[in-house]
Amino acid sequence: MRTKRASLLVTLLGLAGLCAAREAASYPHAFTPQQSKSEEELLTLPGELGRPGGRLVVSLRAEPKTLNPLTAVDAPSREVILGAMQADLVHINRATQLTEPALATSWRVSADYLQYTLTLRKGLRFSDGHPMDADDILFTFRVYLDENVHATQRDLLLIGGKPIAVRKVDALTLVFQLPQPYGVGERLFDGLAILPRHLLEKPYTEGKLAETWALSTPANLWAGLGPFRLKEYIPGQRLVLERNPYYWKQDGKGTRLPYLDELDFLFVPSSDAQVLRFQSGDTDVISRLSADNFFLLQRQQRGFTMADAGPGLEYNFVFFNLNDLGEKASSEMARKQKWFREVKFRQAVSLTVDREALVRLVYQGRGAALWGPVTPGNRRWLNTSVPHPARSLDQARRLLKEAGFSWTNASNGDSVLVDSGGKPVEFSILTSSSNADRTKMATLLQDDLKQLGMHVQVAPLEFRSLIERVTQTKEYDACLLGLVSFDADPNSDLNVWLSSGGTHLWNPSQAHPATTWEAEMDHLMEQQLSATTYEQRKKLYDRVQEILAENQPMIFLASPHILAGAKDTVGNFHAAVLEPYVLWNVEQLFQRDGAGSNSK
């Protein structure tokens, strides 16, 4: 009996050795896992226990452009890198919108809110098996903050224009020194991928970091801390990721996550084609659905579940050109800007918008009417006391009359709104031609405003031309746009509300605030940046929302719901309102039948 057991043990050890050797062969840097389990501090996740194995297939609207977190700016690259391949020190839970431990098990904030001390998880390894420690973190922040690297993350790590400093205390402890108090410093770490020093230090010193980790990188030269690692990239077709065997999370039963063996991203260039591929069973999950497609899939439901996660963080709005154009302004533009600068004019426009109709007609009811930038999906920061005035043409007319506008009858009998100089109120609204929802919204707005006697033209423009007009040449009257906050926290929209911000769309990059209410908003936003308790910050941000409602520099319209779907076989599928909507818990997703999408 004893010999039998011993031989079984030898066989098992032999098999394990073989597996390790195979792994080491495909990953030259691989270290065979010698550490005992007790030295590893795995994070245990709650949730439905899944079944290991299988493959999940997801479609992407466009190919990711790179696997390099430093140069990734396009949505597909960010979705793949941040959603599946990399991990951050502290993570914002997409479902609760609160921070939670990730690579750092805990963090301590000094009394003056200038120092954050982070403790790293023990026994962390990159996906190639190389151990990760505090030196990798020092390297990562050195790279992010280096001006010559041009990392887009650098702006996030500058507070009040000064960079964060990082110091290593020991192999597992780091101190982050902030240049000025920052209330929610730990949120800064979300989405900041930790880079492997052993692979990237050489290209960094050679100044070739931007070109490394292109899509064609061999799998063994890439490493991350996320649930999946690179397996194969086929240009124009798909990106195949495989399970990271060193991932640092486990389920309630102690099974190491992720459950799935493989995660495939298919490149499907149009949203309708994405729906077709999902319908025909080629893909397992689908997100970013338009209301039309959502209804279509819901009607034909065959073996899949559709989910409405409620309003997301996208807010759509219309704004007028309030830029100081100086000499550049034509007399016609100067006249129009006189109307636009009149707060009663903007309030009247806001009162005329039929927001409920927008939600009904544009989003087929799968959306929320908005009176401010914070959507009902962001419960923690929404100021519920901001008034939601009902549509009122009478009140709008009264406001316009008070502001010196009047009405005359045109030759065809229509009532025409004229300004104090007797000129008819006519302007155009720019909108992105590639966004059908916004174009529809602009047309509805045109109809609404006609009832006030305003003659509005809708001008759909190709997206980049539109951005150039709004931010560079400033040759426009009004514009209908939408912004999506990356995070539920107000700091993610700092540059929208600060008058010096580049995305302060109605009058960007001001040297000094043009109006007193903009000065007040600047002051409030800066105050909330350094305020330390949620209550203090909420009070300050509530006031910002009130100022926006009073002055209407942006007339907020509506926010679409986050609509997604998954095959019934996909376990743990819960759509979130923060990106990545469906893959946010990719390590816990599993195939109930153990296989997943396969060839037809």
Binding site: T66, S270, R277
Partner: protein, 324 residues
């Protein structure tokens, strides 16, 4: 020989002209690749300016053109802002997939158009010809896009064909025979869409060219001599009608890289279509310029091949160019 030399010089000049014009037009288009980041509240204008400088978007146009020409000579065809890699390799891989699709479709369309067109011309004015004319007219007015969408709906309804892509997931686990079957099934619908959209034009040309020749006195004479109809049609008439068809074949070759872009996007075929569409929208200008240049090379090449074939087929061209 001088004839070919002249054609080559013309081709090079044409390519130079096309490159200058596309460069100019892409510079005139409002907005640039980094503009979308302007709407990202988390990226500052200083970072944007440094990115623009890094990719030399702030340099004057002639200098950018000079840089680009030097990279063309290295085979890189410029640098993609989005992919952070040279454009050449991006285009080659996808051009291969495009060619697989378009070559198959073009060959199929020609293989159908020649016999059917000849047959239609031979039965000129009778009912088979009329029925065919009706059918070609119908296909002529249906845009390629609608045709592709229709085929996709067919695929979803019947589940007989895949709804897009190049291969199925799990392709690597299939046996060689099944791999071939998988690719053929994926190619079937896009090839059908492309072939059906080019077939009517080819048919009409073949029919017209043949009909013109069939009325010629030398063929009537040949018919009177009792030469069999098959030999008459395929040996004598087709040769006489070949001139316009060879020119048309040149155009078919020229359109190999540019003719399938819409179908590729609709059917998510991993060719040049999706890449170029995205590059145009994102102002990844060197990818666009590279794509245009490559298509022009094909167009010029197609015409060149047609010229050579004409030179061989038509003795009049040979004597004309010899006389010069």
């Amino acid at each position: 020989m001088r004839y070919f030399l002249r054609r080559t010089i013309q081709a090079v000049l044409l390519l130079f002209g096309v490159s200058v014009l596309t460069f100019l037009f892409s510079a005139l288009a409002p907005g640039n690749y980094f503009d979308e980041m302007r709407l990202n509240p988390q990226i500052s204008s200083e970072t944007l300016a440094s990115l623009r400088a890094q990719y030399q978007l702030d340099r004057p146009l002639p200098i950018r053109y000079a840089y680009w020409v030097s990279s063309v000579l290295r085979g890189e065809l410029g640098f993609s802002f989005a992919y952070n890699t040279p454009v050449g390799p991006l285009l080659w891989v996808r051009a291969r997939n495009t060619l697989l699709l378009t070559l198959t479709a073009t060959l199929l369309a020609w293989a159908l158009a020649l016999p059917v067109g000849i047959w239609s011309a031979a039965s000129l004015g009778r009912w088979p010809d009329r029925a065919l004319s009706g059918a070609t007219a119908t296909f002529l007015i249906v845009p390629e896009l609608v045709l592709a969408l229709g085929l996709l709906i067919f695929a979803v309804r019947t589940n007989w064909f895949p709804t897009g892509g190049f291969v199925s997931t799990g392709f690597e686990t299939l046996s060689p025979a099944n791999k071939l079957r998988d690719i053929v099934l994926h190619m079937a619908l896009p090839v059908a869409a492309l072939a059906l959209s080019s077939l009517p034009i080819l048919l009409r040309h073949v029919r017209a060219a043949m009909a013109e020749v069939l009325g010629a006195p030398f063929l009537r004479a040949a018919e009177g001599h009792g030469i069999p109809r098959q030999t008459l049609l395929f040996k004598y008439a087709l040769r006489a009608a070949a001139n316009p068809l060879i020119s048309l074949f040149g155009f078919s070759l020229g359109a190999l890289l540019s003719g399938s872009l819409i179908v590729e996007v609709v059917m998510s075929w991993p060719g040049l279509g999706p890449l170029l569409l995205e590059a145009i929208l994102a102002r990844d200008v060197y990818v666009v310029i590279g794509g245009v240049l490559l298509s022009t090379i094909f167009l010029v090449g197609g015409n060149f091949v047609a010229d050579m074939l004409l030179y061989r087929a038509d003795p009049r061209i040979r004597t004309e160019s010899a006389a010069k």
